[in-house]
């Protein structure tokens, strides 16, 4: 403009790269993960062997899968509590169809479709009717689980073709890494790029921080959320198929309670429950951290109750720690945490 002459210069970032990386939440989680691995290798008998990796990934694959869309959903400021029920529903779908003679691939496709529909129902209630996602998915948590249990009743379908059940547990070549990791890596890349390097992803972050400003900027808030809930449904269904084949058993109560594990891992990975903040690498590290810790503790003959206490404490410690660090930083500058840390309306 004409008023003044000197053009301003703007730095890209107020802090150098290494500092941003070092103080980031992701770095903390990855650091903790490395620490757990090193300490376990040194002090837990039978931990330092390839089979640990095999069992670890076989165990946490469903959580890793579902955490991907869940991250995106939570960044928009919503939540999906129905994922574990969709896992169950998908599992039962595969089981019932297979029992009635449908080959596994076809049954799996139908299960994915069921997951998509389940996600679309969530999405429609949230975006079209305008209901809070926490309430909606508490409802569909009961509904989808009820359908799953109702469809199969007391029975469990266990007659699966060995080819498929073996596939679910197979490993990549001669390595100890299960093949399902390939699926996870591919999907993680897809979701990572979607979140961090696309216009769609930019919209997701904007929605999480301020849905209204996002709408005023031409972000289709409703459509974005709708798509995310459908993705959540379909990936949960995928996890359900994996679950069924891995255990060779389709049951209505498969994966009960898994939603809380997924959410705990996502939050541990640094995603803000109020939306707008988070990154996928942190989430992946978060899931791996919980999984590795549990695996090491089990090997050390620690009972599952203690593992639960440790998981819970870790979750609390991580968020309290982050907020403590932020507070420390604010002590050396920014105002007393009146902004930023306090929740913003995510309606």
């Amino acid at each position: 403009m004409t008023g003044t002459t000197a053009a301003r210069t703007y730095r890209d970032y107020s802090q150098p790269l290494w500092r941003r990386l070092l103080i980031s939440r992701e770095a903390a989680v990855i650091g903790a993960l490395a620490l757990v691995i090193i300490v376990s290798m040194m002090s837990v008998r039978a931990f330092a062997q390839p089979i640990t990796i095999t069992y670890l990934f076989l165990d946490i694959a469903p959580i890793l899968l579902i955490a991907l869309p869940m991250t995106l959903v939570i960044i928009t400021g919503e939540i999906d509590l129905s994922v574990a029920s969709i896992v169950g529903l998908s599992s039962v779908t595969v089981g019932v169809l297979h029992q009635n003679g449908m080959p596994i691939p076809a049954a799996a496709l139908v299960a994915l479709l069921v997951g998509l529909i389940a996600g679309a129902i969530n999405g429609a209630l949230i975006t079209i009717v305008g209901l809070p996602s926490l309430a909606v998915t508490i409802g569909t948590l009961a509904l989808y689980r009820g359908l799953a249990v109702g469809l199969l009743g007391t029975t469990a379908v266990t007659e699966f073709n060995k080819f498929w059940t073996d596939l679910a547990k197979s490993k990549i070549g001669d390595t100890a890494i299960p093949s399902v990791v390939i699926l996870i890596v591919v999907l993680a890349l897809v979701f990572g790029i979607l979140l961090h390097f696309t216009t769609f992803g930019r919209g997701i972050f904007a929605i999480g921080l301020s849905p209204e400003a996002a709408r005023f900027s031409g972000v289709n808030v409703e459509r974005t959320k709708f798509i995310l809930f459908m993705l959540s449904g379909i990936v949960s269904a995928l996890a359900g198929i994996y679950y069924t084949l891995r255990f060779g058993s389709a049951r209505g109560d498969n994966a009960t309670g898994l939603e809380l594990s997924v959410i705990a891992a996502v939050l541990l990975g640094g995603v803000s429950i109020f939306g707008g903040r988070g990154a996928l690498p942190g989430v992946l590290a978060g899931v791996l951290l919980i999984g590795t810790l549990a695996s090491a503790l089990r090997l050390a003959n620690v009972t599952s109750d203690v593992i639960n206490v440790i998981t819970g404490t870790l979750l609390i410690a991580s968020v309290v720690g982050t907020s403590f660090l932020a507070w420390l930083r604010s002590k050396r500058g920014r105002p007393g945490g009146t902004k930023g840390s306090s929740p913003t309306a995510t309606g």
Binding site: M1, R11, D12, F197, R202, G203, G276, G336, G340
Partner: protein, 505 residues
């Protein structure tokens, strides 16, 4: 009327207050003395540190250095509750209401009248609220929730809240920014009566006619530092502006005659029950059309409906001959429409996001290749536009929420100008913007018009409307009641149309 002739001990005194936020220095020398029975103006450019000073007075921030005395004794407020109980009432620059609670509850929260057993006396509270509104001359239903109220109504509730406190010091940080003539007059009447009761008032505004109308003393700040204090009678607008900006400001309304081209936007029969009715008008390339009217007339709703964030029941909107679909801002943007919304903190900006992300949010599709986008691309584009509008920020990843109000507004303008629109709607484009920047925004709008941009400007400031518009459409209770050409537009003709339902046009 002036109390400056009989100097008394200051009620509140600040001297050499310093405050930094991390690397940002907000105040180096905040100095101010408020006297009983006086209305003191505080003026300065955007980011001069006025609001920061206010927040220190309120106890929201704590000073890093300097002295703060209230009636002679040093005070260190650590919360707003303390300043409140010490007799200081503050109206913040941005309204801060509880959206789910009723208007009455908002006014009396935490100090509701009570009866036996500590029960809140709702009847009494209701009556007192009505009394306050009477005094301010407004009609707001005290029982409705504040959610959905216009910014102006919210501001009025803030004012009611502050004056009901019965405080010795009343601080008002741009209380009139969202108000128009009538309400401003009411507010001033109340302010004067408070002054006459011997209270000390601080008034912050970027509108000099208000400063000269209301205040008796003026303090000027620049870049976080005190410049001067003088009785209002002994200074002039030009003098103040020179001290504020550190140089002379050329014309405030640098309207350049632009060649008027083809019709760009045609609105016909637009109706949404409860909001607006049968709106018909068109805007041509190179033309600046102002929508004038009282606050609450429904101008913002019309703009939002055209842009597609709000629904409308009947009517059509076409741009360059193409019909804009309902409720689809993305489509409107693709067709060349841009809207700088009224509430920049909620609608204009993603406050907790960076300057770069905000400045490129509206053009993210254009910046992307096959839908993929990187920070590098965003930063490059943001840098260009931040430079064009001289946004005061050191790095592009600065959180927009930490910028001063004026600089926030510049980021919003940058965001929308970057879309290269053919029609730009600006809703209160200069609200809360200092004179220097305001002149620049006006010049910018003028230049854009010359380049062939069609502009709709919604403004509650008459001088701005008269100075900038080629054509003035006056909105009254959701209907266009008059269309006045630049040549015929006067303060009287516009105000008359704005306050009367039927006007022969």
């Amino acid at each position: 009327m002036s109390n400056s002739t009989q100097p008394s001990a200051p009620t509140l005194e600040l001297s050499r207050i310093a405050k930094t936020f991390g690397s940002v220095v907000a105040l180096t020398n905040g100095t101010l003395a408020l006297h009983p029975g006086s209305i003191h103006a505080l003026v300065g450019e955007n980011g001069a540190g006025k609001s920061t000073l206010v927040k220190i007075i309120a106890g929201l921030y704590q000073r890093d250095g300097g002295d703060f005395t209230l009636e002679g004794t040093t005070v260190d407020f650590t919360s707003t509750a303390q300043s409140k109980s010490a007799g200081i009432a503050v109206i913040y620059q941005e309204p801060t209401l509880f959206p789910d609670l009723s208007v009455t509850e908002n006014i009396f929260m935490g100090r509701q009248p009570i009866k036996s057993l500590g029960r809140i006396d709702r009847k009494k509270m209701h009556t007192e609220a009505l009394g306050l509104f009477e005094r301010l001359g407004v009609r707001i239903d005290p029982d409705r929730p504040t959610q959905g109220l216009s910014i102006a109504d919210q501001q009025i509730i803030e004012i009611a809240k502050a004056i009901s406190l019965d405080a010795k010091v009343l601080v008002m940080d741009e209380p009139t920014a969202a108000l128009s003539g009538v309400e401003v007059e009411r507010l001033f009447a109340v302010a004067r009566s408070l002054r006459d009761e011997g209270r000390a008032l601080l008034f912050i505004s970027h509108r000099f006619e208000e400063v000269f109308d209301l205040c008796d003393t003026v303090t000027i700040m620049r870049d976080g530092a005190y410049i001067s204090t003088s009785p209002i009678a002994e200074t002039t607008v030009d003098e103040i502006v020179r001290q504020m900006v550190g140089r002379d400001v050329a014309s405030l309304f640098p309207k350049i005659d632009a060649p008027i081209g083809d019709e760009v936007l045609v609105v016909s029969g637009l109706t949404e029950p409860g909001e607006f009715h049968d709106i018909n008008f068109s805007v041509r390339a190179g033309e600046i059309v102002a929508l004038a009217g009282l606050v609450g007339a429904g101008r913002s709703e019309i703009a939002r409906a055209i842009f597609g964030v709000d629904p409308y029941k009947t009517g059509t909107v076409t741009i360059n001959g193409t019909r804009i679909p309902k409720r689809n801002p993305a489509a409107a943007m693709n067709l060349g429409l841009a809207l700088v919304p009224e509430d920049r903190r909620r609608q204009g900006l993603v406050l907790e996001s960076s300057v770069a992300k905000n400045a490129t949010l509206a053009i993210r599709s254009a910046l992307a290749k096959f839908g993929f986008i990187t920070s590098a691309v965003e930063n490059a584009s943001a840098r260009t536009w931040a430079n064009k509008l001289e946004v005061k920020a050191s790095a592009l990843d600065t959180e927009v929420g930490t910028l001063s109000g004026g600089n926030q507004q510049k980021v919003v303008l940058a965001k929308w100008l970057a879309t290269n629109p053919s029609l730009l709607i600006v809703d209160e484009p200069t609200r809360g913007i200092d004179v220097g920047t305001k002149a620049e925004v006006h010049r910018l709008l003028s230049e854009l018009a010359v380049e062939g941009l069609a502009i709709i400007m919604i403004s509650s400031e008459l001088p701005e409307v008269l100075g900038m518009a080629d054509r003035v459409l006056v909105v009254h209770e959701g209907r266009i009641t008059a269309e006045i050409d630049r040549a015929d537009a006067t303060a009287e003709s516009v105000m008359f149309a704005a306050t009367h339902a039927e006007v022969a046009s």
